[in-house]
């Protein structure tokens, strides 16, 4: 299974068993063929063989769905296929682990509340701003991804500073701090629902108006687009990505920055944010606030190429080879821009990109957009006190 990208990894080929199931179960000719024993049944062995194609080689980035001339929504079908793969025991170990930890512990990386609280204290000490927890009636409920809790604590401090400058009330939630949803990635709606339900319950308990998804693409789509469908009713609150919130603040004049980054910078659009999420213009507005020399990659916005680690691939060790192979596209795009710093807005992308750059011995720092904005906030006297 350790090999590079091959002809096997073509989007439509990944769906071959699913296509056969559809044909055999839901079309007249397929049903007839099955009745007289002319069709080839889908076997467990075959599904096991397809594991690499359905999980390791697909990041659910949806570029295939975007370019298909016939209009086939291929990623939708891969997502459906994973439902069957997962419950028939053909999901990769790494992803099963992540889901299990999310369900049992509360976070795919095994982060528990005390770790979050430690992080909160740390930020409080550093910024001097109080980090609210379980504050009822706050306008915003801020969600985190474990990646941010563990690897990018700057995010929380950035939020604190921004909210303070904007003068908005916000809170974290002790029962729902983790936004990522490994249930979606592995493809088990029942489990994804359990994870989403925690957030819904938390948000409704605290009576917040808006839940803010962190800089994590899958977390955003899981909550923003899948959430209501998973629980079977519309949300009573709004869901926004942090970049949407920042752009709203900017438009309302609540986000004041000073100074500019001097290095040439480019922005990596996380698939789940643009193609799957619809957050396309916001990062550009924000980039222009603080970056003088902002260059777009080729194929920017909804056409962007995946970092290679989405759809649970970053949690799946089996997929490492393929992920590094896929990174070559990103590498080429990046080199063509000549940018010195890479900005993105997804913790998962960020980790994957950093690993890819390191593997290719490229010395380009990867920065979270929210944090970069926070660094340029106009320092107000109250913020210091």
């Amino acid at each position: 299974m350790r090999r590079g990208l091959s002809v096997l990894h073509r989007a439509i080929h990944k769906l071959e068993p699913l296509r056969r199931i559809y044909e055999q179960e839901y079309t007249l000719l397929g049903r007839l063929a099955k009745m007289v024993g002319l069709s080839k049944p889908v076997t467990d062995d075959e599904l096991e063989e397809w594991k690499e194609l359905v999980y390791n080689s697909c990041t659910l980035c949806a570029r295939c769905s975007l370019v298909c001339p016939v209009g086939n929504d291929i990623v939708y079908m891969v997502r459906k296929f994973r439902e069957g793969m997962a419950v028939s025991g053909h999901a990769p170990e790494g992803l099963i682990g992540a889901v299990t930890r999310t369900i049992e512990i509360g976070s795919p990386m095994g982060v528990r509340l005390p770790a979050v609280q430690a992080q909160m204290r740390h930020v409080q000490d550093e910024t001097g701003i109080e980090i609210p927890l379980d504050k009822e009636g706050a306008e915003y409920l801020v969600m985190l991804s474990s990646m941010e809790i563990m690897n990018f604590p700057e995010y929380l401090s950035a939020i604190a500073k921004i909210m303070k400058q904007a003068g908005k009330t916000w809170t974290l939630c002790s029962t729902a701090f983790e936004a990522t949803n490994a249930g979606i990635q592995i493809g088990v709606s029942d489990l994804a629902k359990v994870i989403v339900k925690r957030i819904v319950d938390g948000a409704e308990r605290l009576k917040v108006k808006t839940v803010i998804s962190p800089e994590c693409g899958h977390a955003y789509t899981a909550l923003r687009w899948d959430g209501a469908n998973l629980i079977g009713r519309p949300f009573t609150f709004k869901v926004l990505h942090i970049l949407e919130v920042l752009d709203e603040f900017r438009a309302q004049g609540l986000l004041k920055t000073e100074g500019f980054e001097t290095a040439k910078m480019t922005f990596h659009d996380p698939c789940q944010l643009v193609r799957r999420g619809g957050v396309i213009e916001q990062p550009r507005n924000l980039m222009k606030m603080v970056v003088k020399d902002f260059v777009e990659m080729e194929d920017p916005g909804k056409y962007n190429w995946c970092c290679g680690g989405g759809g649970g691939v970053s949690a799946n060790e089996e997929a490492e080879q393929l992920r590094l192979e896929a990174f070559k596209i990103k590498k080429r795009q990046l080199e063509n821009t000549g940018a010195k710093t890479l900005v993105t807005a997804c913790a998962n992308c960020r980790i994957t990109l950093e690993e890819g750059l390191e593997h290719n011995q490229m010395d380009i720092p990867v920065v979270g957009l929210t944090e970069m904005i926070a660094e340029h906030l106009v320092e107000t006297p109250s913020a210091k006190s």
């Binding site: 179960e25 997962a86 028939s88 025991g89 099963i96 592995i186 088990v188």
Partner: protein
Amino acid sequence: MNRRLTVAEQLAKQGVSRRAFLKFCAAAASLMALPPGMAPAIAEALGKRTRPSVIWLSFQECTGCTESLTRSHTATVESLIFDMISLDYHHTLMAASGEAAELARKQAMEQAGYLVLVDGSIPTKDGGIYSAIAGVTNLQMLKETLENAAAVVSIGTCAAYGGIPKADPNPTGAKSVQALMDEGLVPRKPVINVPGCPPIPTVITGVLAHYLTFGEIPELDNLGRPTMFFGDSIHDRCYRRPFYDQGKFAKTFDDEGARKGWCLFELGCKGPTTHNACATTKWNNGTSFPIESGHGCIGCSEPDFWDAGSFYSALSMPTTPLDLAAGAAVAGAAIGVGVALANRSKKGAAKSAHQSAGLADLEK
């Protein structure tokens, strides 16, 4: 019977000069669609050939073919050719009747090597009783007559391909001469088909002239027709062809396009699939042909032309009404709804049988 005269001798006896004979040969070459340079070869061949005996059998037919051939009363080059042959039996044209007529046929058949001309198709159903002459069925008469014949010329589409009597539903089981030979019902002899409803008179005589002149069967196409007259389609030789190529079509018989002489394809012209000499030889001594008169070709020199749909529906159109379509559409909808309901119940069953997936399900 005294020695038969050669054709040249026959003409000389009638007081035809060499100059006139030369003119005759030039006209004959034109008639046979041969290059004008062939006239001397024709003259030479006619100097050697004797007058053959000819028996003309008319079966299930309308006498249109005979009409076509004989409608010109004046002496033409064709009639000269008939002077050259000895037409011993033709029940429409011959003076004799009844037993005398049949006797003439029997006598002509005594000397082998005669030529048989047939117009009309031959009924085969119920023992062929649907057409009989002097109490002899057509089938029986053809069988007898072909026994010692040198060759047979099927004149008209009925004799050549079955024609209108064979048209659907063919109540008499009508068949062409060739079909009877293929089925072994009559003796097999060389067949020249001269189809048309009726055939062009000069084509009939041209084919006969060729046979008489050269004593051999001319080159035939795959439907047994002499290629010299049937080698090209009407469409290929049609003077309106340029309009077809330009996409200019008359839409009705009295529209602008019709007045301008545009292509009649859309008005049902069967020229593209019809092989005949109408476009070059023309009718009524070269006056015109149907397309020149503003009517499309009906394809009368082709097998089953009567069953090729309306004469006025274009070749690309169906020949029969699409009567299965409505039923098929209803059946499609019914089966579709059936499958839809089955799918829906399958989905419903799957949904109600669904047990919420837990972590335990992931490890199998």
